[in-house]
Symmetry: C2
Subunit: 576 residues, 2 copies
């Protein structure tokens, strides 16, 4: 992958350039963050012409490496004001790789009020006006593109939430089955909306396979890697069987399942929304319990959730969504939550942020706790229609807190705190506080070691070791996010030494290099520092690496623990 496609939406011009030498060793998050840090003024308005939206496939994307098809998107986030990278499955990344596109950089902003679409193919990138699909949901976009260009064309799109530049808007990527995957967090859909791009198509027609410098060596490493994925109990058994929703019972048992907008650590109705129950429901109704978000996925943690009559409702129905609309909102009906998941895919809004939004909306008295039909009404009639209440909700949990003058608002740097209580899973609290992207569990998934006992065992209720744990995971994650590999490869990587070696070997075989494990760590460290420097220039200080005050004063049952890190202890994080 050697080309950088550049699209200027101010003067509606495009260009293709060779990737400069300094970026040659980067991909995925490493590349999107490097480009944003180099080209976006840190203090700029995220929705203005000076922000840039960057897409990049990972270093291994397009190869036969298992689970390597993730697409990175980067920009300055309208939700957090920080730098932001978010990666998603779908088929676009592998098409980027085959088209030899190292990155797509979208810059500027149209002065006239019109909408556009981008078409990428082996002939380059074209900007065209779009009118028919403006105002439509993501499923209508996918359907229209499939009808016009066939099912193999990649689609990257925004729904109405992105068009309205809502800070919780996501970017959808079509997967090989025509379902949607999301660049969920950080409001990147609003950035795409601010660029006035409704959707992007990626046509792989005539594109060659990705070149591999040493195919034999690659094959051997890829086999070892795949075996490790299948051998590990989490990636080889738990996730394929129950999906990520296996975590409901696990977190409930651990007392770390945030319930009723982070009042409790356990949810009475956990059994009704657990992965085990969901597996039974899907099996009974004739849905699919396994499904991959991109070609080459061997974990298959997705599924096809169907309704009582067996009609398809949603895929990529994740633990965080089910936690958020479930325990967090006291809703114990999986069908209501599945409907929400479908609606959010169509409207184009992040399911985690929306979950926290709904919890805060209930805190505000906008609707009662446990009101499943109510949250779907808010999604459909308010957010989906851009009403004033929809504008409040669609702009994130922090905005709902502002509008209703609340202080029990679980956000860090303006982003909703996801599905793990930081008081009873303290390692993830450090990640929420220090991540370069606001509260984000995927930035350094300390839950693995705190709760799942993967990669060691650090007591979730004690402070000892959490800062180091989160730091090591955040560094490793930044590196993994650069490869195009699904983050779930981290489970075997943390426990099976051959898995990490295999990734390094695949990178070496792909590019004809001789990297070591240390080089991978150095890459992760460098990415974190680049992102942190951007944030500092944007005006962030240690004072922003804090959780909301109520976590320090409200003990969370059943362990009745508070968030007890001192500022100085948290600030140790950046001493590396």
């Amino acid at each position: 992958m050697n080309k950088i496609y550049r699209v200027n939406m101010t003067d509606l011009t495009t260009s293709v350039e060779d990737c400069p030498a300094e970026w040659a060793g980067l991909g995925g998050r490493g590349l999107t963050s490097a480009i944003v840090a180099a080209e976006v003024p840190p203090a700029c308005h995220p929705l203005g012409p000076n922000n840039k939206l960057v897409f990049s496939p990972g270093l291994l994307t397009g190869t036969p490496a298992a689970n390597s098809g993730r697409l990175s998107a980067g920009a300055k986030s309208p939700l957090t004001g920080t730098i932001k990278e978010s990666n998603a499955g779908g088929s676009a990344a592998q098409l980027f790789a085959r088209l030899d596109i190292k990155a797509l950089i979208i810059e500027g902003q149209p002065t006239e009020d019109a909408w556009y679409k981008l078409a990428l193919s082996k002939d380059g990138v074209k900007i065209e006006k779009e009118t028919a699909l403006v105002g439509k949901g993501n499923f209508a976009v996918v359907e229209a593109v499939q009808a016009q260009k066939g099912k193999k064309t990649g689609v990257i799109s925004i729904g109405p939430a992105g068009e309205w530049r809502m800070k919780a808007a996501n970017i959808s990527v079509m997967d090989p089955d025509g379902k949607l995957r999301s660049h969920g967090r950080g409001g990147l859909g609003a950035v795409m909306g601010a660029k006035k791009i409704k959707y992007i198509t990626v046509d792989g027609e005539g594109a060659p396979a990705v070149k591999i410098a040493d195919p034999e060596k690659f094959k051997t490493a890829a086999r070892t890697f795949a075996k490790a994925l299948l051998d590990h109990p989490v990636s080889g058994e738990g996730l394929p069987t129950y999906g990520t929703n296996i975590l409901i019972n696990v977190l409930n048992e651990a007392g770390g399942l945030p319930t009723k907008n982070f009042r409790y650590g356990q949810f009475e109705g956990h059994d009704k929304i657990s992965g085990e129950t969901m597996h039974d429901i899907i099996t009974e109704r004739g849905g699919k319990t396994k499904h991959g978000c991109h070609a080459g996925c061997i974990i298959q943690c997705s599924q096809e959730y169907v309704d009582a009559s067996g009609v398809y409702v949603t895929s990529g129905f994740e633990y965080e969504t089910i936690w958020g609309f479930g325990a967090n909102c006291c809703i114990d009906n999986l069908d209501h939550i599945a409907e929400a998941d479908h609606l959010m895919d169509d409207i184009g809004i992040d399911s985690i942020e929306s979950a926290v939004i709904m919890g805060v909306a209930m805190e505000a008295g906008i609707l009662p706790w446990g009101d499943g039909p109510g949250v779907n009404r808010l999604l459909r009639e308010e957010i989906g229609k851009g009403t004033p209440l929809g504008r409040i909700l669609g702009n994130g949990a922090a905005e709902v807190g502002v509008a209703y003058g609340l202080t029990r608002v679980p956000v860090v740097k303006g982003q909703g705190i996801p599905a793990y209580d930081p008081r009873s899973v303290k390692g993830i609290g450090i990640t929420y506080a220090t991540s370069t992207m606001g509260a984000d569990h995927t930035a350094g998934y300390s839950v693995a070691t705190n709760i799942l006992k993967v990669g060691g065992d650090v007591d979730p209720l004690k402070k000892e070791g959490q800062v180091e744990l989160s730091r090591n995971l955040q560094i490793a994650t930044a590196a993994v996010d650069s490869t195009g590999l699904c983050l779930f490869v981290a489970f075997p990587v943390l426990d099976i030494p051959e898995a990490l070696t295999a990734i390094v070997e695949m990178l070496n075989a792909r590019f004809g290099l001789s990297l070591t494990g240390d080089d991978v760590t150095a890459l992760g460290t460098s990415i974190l520092k680049t992102e942190h420097a951007f944030n500092q220039a944007a005006g962030f200080t240690n004072a922003h690496d804090r959780l909301p005050e109520f976590f320090a004063t409200e003990p969370v049952p059943p362990h009745n623990v508070v968030w007890d890190f001192t500022d100085a202890e948290i600030d140790e994080f950046w001493n590396f």
Copy 2:
């Protein structure tokens, strides 16, 4: 004034303590900022139990010094996230002084959902439950207190906007005629609402006159001071005749009257809303062109604006309000703007922030440019009723920008930019950028020297000298805000050397001190540095001392100039 009254709203207790020695020389802004800096954790949520709301009269308040009756209010601002001081006229400050109260500190937060009132008198401070006036406007509060306690009792209250903790909510203070003056900016009304205090009464019954150490010396200095106020063309002639609205024609002529949400520097309809026209209308209709906001005011820049049938509509009808609903929203009907002023007093919402809010609402397409009845409908039916749209609007211009995904949003640190275009009045732009309290013209009124040629002459269109000008004015203002004197005394102080000497002499005579002019400068410097340090600890950096990007890219007619300060040039401000 030696007592500090402390009210703890968490456990509903009160206490009276002697003012500690370190605060003895402070009053007004100097004292409120010192207390907030010492006692409020900078990173706390402004609406949570850890913020404190502090009231303090100035050092000269309660004496016969002309124009010395201003009350300071301080807290961490919910609008800006910075430290905030806002001062207002009315009768409360003089009653505080006579009751020997140096400061009232309100801390904590009730856990139960109930409302309270505070009653201050010579017997101390009492907390009582309040139900009847909850949900009512400020005029109803004033009327009820007057009926119950007589017209001499001071009243400090919040309207529905404060109860709903809207970030644009102000705190009203009743003046001697039962009209309302406001601690307008920074959302301090939301802090009072978060403390669940609907209103405060101040009963001066039985309180002695303020003691003066050297009455003769005081009398002489006070006479010199009053003469300077009456001799200066601005405070002695312009303001008494036309009120602050004399500035409409002045700023229009200078090309610095922000029009249509800061698109132009001149407004076609300026003549219809000018101070001269207003003077004629009031005279014709039998209103009053002169009125003071507190006893002892000899400038009398307020007025009683009446409608076509001679019925009273509003007082304290300021230039910034008339600019904001007028030129900024393209409304050229003074009656519509006067109605807005009345509504805002009653709802308890800042008129400057509301003006910027309405400009951004028109930018968003919520209502058409120039729609006077429309803005009054939004005030009455949306903000005044706390609807979802009202929640968006009532939380400030920045929030409207967020809700509708806009970038042409004139705010600094989340606070709306007031009535002087920073591109064509560059000195005030430096104040907006660097003030410790977000965009605030009163923090360092460079307009005086840029446009009115008071205190010298610095070309408003050039960068030279503006940083020094703003810095000197911000230091002087911090000192003046500590005396309890109306900021308009700055006009004679800047031009007539005897005026400054007289203020120092009055302070010396009041307290038996021997301060010099240098001590006053040192006080101002110290206040600014205390406030700045608070902000830095709260997470603010130089990166926040910036104007929105559009000022740097959109030239403003008629001078067609942009905001052209480099970051480094602005950051020179804090090098003192």
